[in-house]
Point group: C2
């Protein structure tokens, strides 16, 4: 059984009940995962049009161009979508730390058993 969403060439995101898809951002140079966020249709369109990663902030309930205040924008080199079109992968060139804590990546802690170890 062929699902056109999986095999086709049409961009047809499968937004969840909140109107969102998951967005994974990696550093185009290093492959490091920098952050995970969410996009509604408007955020995805803005990202593709502007070439700068734009998300939907669930906490603030508004469109959020990453770096709009900090200046740490994420320039999109490539955008991909997964088989069932409910997740987007952005390969980016970051202008600065991606994490609001100042870390290069939000994933700055390794899970070792039940504890966390800082790795950057």
């Amino acid at each position: 059984m062929t699902d056109p969403r999986e095999t086709g060439t049409d961009l047809n995101p499968r937004f969840d009940s909140a109107g969102l898809v998951t967005a994974v951002v990696t550093d185009a140079a290093t492959g490091e995962v920098l952050m995970v966020a969410h996009m509604n249709a408007e955020a995805l369109a803005a990202t593709l049009e502007s070439g700068e990663a734009t998300f939907w902030s669930r906490s603030r309930g508004r469109l959020w161009r990453k770096g709009e205040t900090s200046g740490n924008v994420l320039r999109v080199v490539e955008a991909r979508i997964d088989c069932d079109q409910d997740a987007v992968w952005l390969r980016v060139v970051p202008a600065g730390p991606a994490c609001h804590t100042g870390a290069r990546s939000c994933f700055y802690r390794r899970i070792d058993g039940g504890a966390l170890t800082r790795v950057e």
Copy 2:
């Protein structure tokens, strides 16, 4: 204001209203994003204990050890968690294609404007 969840060394995942966190899986050798899935507390514990990526299948409503039928297990080299502990990053060695379509990665299509281009 310091949030112990962000700065601390305790594993304290912030599960959403459905009891899930997002899991991003990358190939430890290449950095390629292979898939995005979800984990409940049981799936995360099983992953950390067994060293094989285990998710919560929302469609099947049960624990899902990746590769349990296909044999394409994902051996975890490193697990990380993000700042607010609602997303996990697994670096893995895949035993075979990660995608159910047979593609190495679920992200086998690039978004070019409004259309998709197959890249693997």
